[in-house]
């Protein structure tokens, strides 16, 4: 399944500053593995050592937080958008 991955600012250093990149996979885990293949190091801040999602970063499949879907096992479809969203605190 070909999806678009929207990258937050803090991960764009891995993608040559691209905000949107393409990736392939049947599940979110596959998509992130594909992403890691093209942009080594990019998923370190997304996938924790235990193989699950980091608790301080949110991943959305279209407009749904994947925590409420199947987490990393969420199936993706052609044309879906995966958005990676860290918390940011800036206000000043």
């Amino acid at each position: 399944m070909a999806v678009t991955v929207k990258l937050p600012t803090i991960l764009r250093k891995f993608s040559g500053n691209e905000a949107k990149v393409g990736a392939d996979g049947a599940t979110l885990r596959d998509v992130l593995t594909d992403l890691e293949g093209n942009y080594p190091g990019i998923t370190k801040n997304v996938i924790a050592e235990d193989g699950g999602l980091h608790r301080f970063i949110n991943v959305y499949l279209n407009d749904e937080d994947v925590r409420y879907l199947g987490s990393l096992e969420t199936e993706v479809a052609d044309g879906d958008t995966v958005s990676i969203l860290p918390a940011v605190a800036g206000g000043r």
Binding site: K6, P8, T9, I10, A19, N45, R55, F56, I57, N58, Y60, D63, E64, D65, Y68, S83, L85, P86, A87, V88, A89, G90, G91, R92
Partner: protein, 273 residues
């Protein structure tokens, strides 16, 4: 007995454009004048929020900060001017907000927020607007507004990206902890001083926060409650994602484990779920 007029002469002229506007009108403007809003932070986000809320006639407008105006602030903290450099931000803010609208009550709270004072500071305000710049205070403000039953208008920025939403108190409505259960480890997200920030970015997000605060008070329109608005200034991209109530949230879930205010300063002290 003659009924009290809704507005005095100054107000009729000052708020004329609201009074004739559908969805606001005299009734909505009266609600704004009768309301009280607290803006936390007189910086990048706090500046546009407070300016627009003062202009809109929020009857009691509080502003919290503990910092001094620095020259590097003026690139985006539009509440302050060059003459204010070196001055208390709260003092500067109060002066400029009163100049915009001398008919409202502008209250300066020159203090840092801790678990020991946040209830006192928040007391009496109808809506709280978060314009802070660090995770510990954001979590503290979330908890306090949840426990006190006050709506929280959230906004945050980083370089070219912004986020905004409204967190409502009450049953089965999400809070900030539902959205971000854990802050990032220290050092993973640079501050504005370290990473830089696009000057006009907080102007957009702050404007959205002021919009949401005004809609909460007037009761008009559709609020951002349950939706996280994501803005990318560089690509002029707006995106919305859903925010769900988390039944396991330690603050607002079915069985809360955090029932008192905590100072999250010692970052690692954020309780594990």
């Amino acid at each position: 007995m003659t009924p009290q007029p809704m507005f005095d002469e100054d107000q009729v002229q000052r708020y004329a454009r609201h009074i004739i506007l559908p969805n606001i009108g005299g009734a909505g403007q009266r609600k704004l004048i009768d309301s009280s809003v607290l803006v936390i932070g007189a910086g990048g986000l706090g500046s546009p929020v407070a300016l627009y809320l003062a202009a809109a006639g929020i009857g009691t407008l509080g502003i919290v900060d503990f910092d001094e105006v620095d020259l590097s602030n003026l690139q985006r903290q539009i509440l302050h001017t060059t003459n204010d450099v070196g001055r208390s931000k709260v003092e500067s803010a109060v002066e400029h907000l009163r100049a915009i609208n001398p008919t409202i009550d502008v209250v300066g709270h020159e203090q840092l927020l801790f678990s020991t004072n946040v209830y006192d500071v928040f007391e009496g305000y109808d809506v709280i607007v978060d314009g802070t710049d660090n995770f510990p205070v954001r979590y503290l403000v979330n908890d306090a507004t949840q426990f006190m039953g006050k709506p929280l208008v959230y906004g945050s920025i980083y370089q070219f990206e912004g986020q905004a939403t409204v967190f409502m108190p009450g049953q089965e409505t999400p809070c900030y902890r539902c959205l971000f259960p854990s802050p990032p480890p220290p050092g993973t997200v640079p501050s504005c001083a370290e990473g830089g920030v696009f000057g006009v970015l907080p102007g957009v997000i702050g404007g959205i926060q002021a919009t949401e605060a005004i809609k909460l008070i007037t009761g008009e329109g559709d609020s951002l409650e349950g939706r996280l608005l994501l803005y990318d200034a560089l690509h002029m991209d707006f995106q919305e994602v859903k925010i769900r109530w988390d039944a396991d949230c330690p603050v607002c879930g079915k069985e809360p484990t955090i029932t008192e205010l905590i100072d999250y300063e010692a970052f690692c002290g954020v309780p594990a779920r």
